[in-house]
């Protein structure tokens, strides 16, 4: 019975690994091909099956004047927008979440749970509903087609995630921990940054990771709210697909655009398995 279980377990893991990794391998292989190798017949292994070339990669950094597509600038635009919006969302979201978790708010019929739900409801709405309001809003304040405008919009999109994760996290940190800090001579601000924050690192990392992922992969708002001045990576990658699909540079740009997420996942994985709050919780 347990042998069968072990077999099935490893069978499934192997199957899933192949399922997930195969497209990447294919993309890596394709990124080194040229027009001929892609269109002649199905090939997999460089040098044996086809003659590898770096053309697909070179195109990415060449300027359009020289026949390239230049994803360098959109790349840095994406990094800037994602990181700035994530950072601001985490800072504001963490403060909001702490307040929602620890203090009782009353405004008419509005209670803490209603405020938390208001934040989450921003993500429940389909993004397309928000597109027209955002467009009008940004054009009114003159931030359409600008990095700053994108940062503002992304904060609206990412902060609910931060609030949601952090409220849940703070609710599981015993209130007595804050109280002990107060009794031990911390004022409320010191209690927050000397005791609560250092014990919230796992939560902050999870929230940060989600913000970065959702910010990085957003295509919809980047597509609607920018035209010529500013371009973000996902839009640029999709725009590569013209009358003749350049599979080689499309593969290369797809690989460089998922690379940061893979790196983030590897860094975060260590922290997630290491840090926990068991000492405070029980």
């Amino acid at each position: 019975m347990s042998k069968l279980y072990t077999f099935l377990k490893y069978f499934f893991i192997t199957f899933w690994t192949v399922f997930v990794v195969a497209p990447f391998l294919w993309a890596v292989s394709t990124s080194f091909k040229d027009f001929q190798s892609v269109n002649s017949k199905v090939t997999y292994i460089p040098w044996l099956d086809f003659e590898p070339t770096l053309e697909g990669w070179r195109v990415l950094i060449k300027s359009p004047a020289k026949g390239g597509v230049d994803i360098v600038e959109p790349y840095f635009n994406s990094i800037f927008v994602t990181c700035t919006a994530s950072l601001i969302s985490i800072v504001l979201g963490t403060l909001a979440a702490y307040a929602l978790s620890r203090f009782t708010f009353k405004a008419g019929f509005v209670r803490n749970n209603d405020i938390t739900f208001f934040f989450i409801s921003q993500r429940i709405m389909p993004p397309i509903v928000l597109s027209i309001p955002f467009f009008i809003f940004l054009s009114t304040i003159g931030l359409l087609d600008s990095l700053l405008g994108l940062v503002v919009v992304y904060i609206v999109l990412l902060m609910p995630i931060a609030v949601w994760i952090m409220v849940d996290f703070f609710n599981r940190v015993p209130k007595e921990l804050d109280e002990t800090a107060l009794i031990d001579g911390c004022n409320p601000y010191q209690a927050f940054y000397k005791v609560v924050l250092p014990n919230s690192i796992p939560g902050l990392i999870v929230a940060g990771m989600f913000c970065i992922i959702f910010g990085w992969i957003d295509f919809f708002f980047a597509f609607i709210l920018t035209f010529t001045e500013v371009q973000l990576l996902p839009v640029k990658v999709v725009a590569l697909n013209s009358s003749i699909t350049p599979w080689w540079s499309l593969s290369a740009s797809a690989l460089v655009s998922v690379a940061p997420l893979i790196i983030v996942a590897f860094i975060v994985e260590r922290y997630l398995s290491k840090g926990n709050l068991s000492g405070a919780l029980k």
């Binding site: 009794i183 031990d184 005791v195 709050l277 068991s278 000492g279």
Partner: protein, 359 residues
């Protein structure tokens, strides 16, 4: 120079958490607050610590209005029933935390922390992480942090309730030692618990709290011997004191068709209806006794708790040996009338075997 609370009330919702509580705590003394769960013990301690502000009433300490002083400037220490330590710091850093917060000199901090570690028996554990400690050790760290602060008011909120039986016994013994050796004469120690045995062992001044109200104040012995009313008698005994509705007539005591001779301390009682109280430990098995039906028999340690029934009365008897009983079996028991309490119909104490009367 005392810690004085006057007419403190706290009512955050429909119910009073504290209802007109007054106290006068003197330095160098141990006070225990005895009450069931949700009786307001924690609320009272938090109010003294400054984590809660009462709706009414005043607290003063060393002639200063305590309520105007925020928690972090009050210099109190508190140990919670949950084992609360700073999980991101190791044992040593946990204990230094409040001292560094008060900006003491490094030499002073080192000395105070070493003393505290010695007192709670955690020398050698300085670099351990909190998560690596057992529950009892975690609670020792919390206690050490409180002791090292040398706070003038030390609050312990049911510190032993989350520990297993053996550890609780052991730590309780140590608490008695720590309280007598490790504390300065400047300290007011306030200890809350649901366990009457703990109250008796710590042997301090007791405040019995129920539904936010103070039911009785006095030395532990006085509470045990002369509980001022039925509720106190229930709260201050484990198992709770048995109550039998009955009456006294010129010849004997009557309850559930049982007649007992009138004990000496009841001789001067008026002849009327009473609530008689008798401790579970004063009921003995006796072949010539009265017949009761067993509803439940629990063996705990070397004792057996018998839940008995006769007519409308349900009582608990504590038999000091392990015996096997069948449920619904009949047993014969004997009441020691000399240990009977009499409470009036309004539940106030009328006569106790230890000479107390409130009537």
């Amino acid at each position: 120079m005392n810690l004085i609370g006057e007419k403190i009330s706290y009512k955050p919702d429909e119910q009073f958490h504290l209802n007109d509580v007054s106290f006068n705590f003197k330095k160098g003394n141990l006070y225990t607050i005895l009450g069931r769960t949700l009786s307001g013990k924690t609320t009272l301690l938090k109010t003294i610590a400054g984590l809660l502000n009462p709706d009414q009433g005043s607290i003063s300490f060393e002639e200063k209005d305590f309520i105007k002083i925020p928690v972090w400037e009050r210099n109190v220490a508190m140990v919670y029933q949950q084992f609360i330590n700073y999980p991101h710091l190791n044992v040593y850093e946990n204990i230094t935390f409040p001292l560094e917060q008060r900006k003491l000199s490094p030499e002073q901090i080192k000395k105070d922390v070493d003393d505290a570690l010695k007192t709670v028996g955690l020398v050698g554990f300085e670099n351990r992480k909190i998560q690596e400690l057992s529950g009892g050790q975690q609670q020792r760290v919390a206690l050490a942090r409180s002791l090292a602060k040398k706070a003038k008011i030390l609050l312990l909120d049911e510190p032993l309730v989350n520990l297993d039986y053996k550890l609780r016994e052991q730590l309780r013994e140590e608490f008695k030692r720590i309280f007598s050796e490790g504390l300065s004469q400047d300290t007011i120690l306030i200890y809350s618990t649901t366990d009457p045995q703990e109250v008796m062992e710590l042997n301090g001044e007791v405040i019995v709290l129920d539904e936010g109200k103070v039911l009785q104040k006095g030395p532990a012995k006085e509470i045990f011997e002369n509980p001022s009313n039925l509720k106190v008698a229930e709260i201050s005994n484990d198992p709770p004191m048995n109550v039998l509705k009955g009456s006294k007539n010129p010849k004997n005591l009557n309850f559930e068709n049982i007649s007992l001779e009138i004990p000496n301390h009841f001789k001067n009682l008026e002849d009327k209806d009473y609530n008689f109280g008798i401790r579970a430990s004063e009921i003995k098995l006796d072949k010539n006794g009265e017949e009761f039906e067993i509803e439940l028999a629990e063996i705990s340690g070397s004792e057996t708790l018998l839940h008995l029934k006769r007519g409308n009365s349900k009582i608990i008897a504590l038999i000091e040996e392990v015996m096997n009983f069948k449920i619904h079996e009949k047993v014969k028991i004997n009441f020691n009338a000399n240990k009977f309490y009499a409470f009036a119909e309004d539940e106030k104490l009328v006569s106790s075997p230890y000479g107390g009367t409130n009537g």
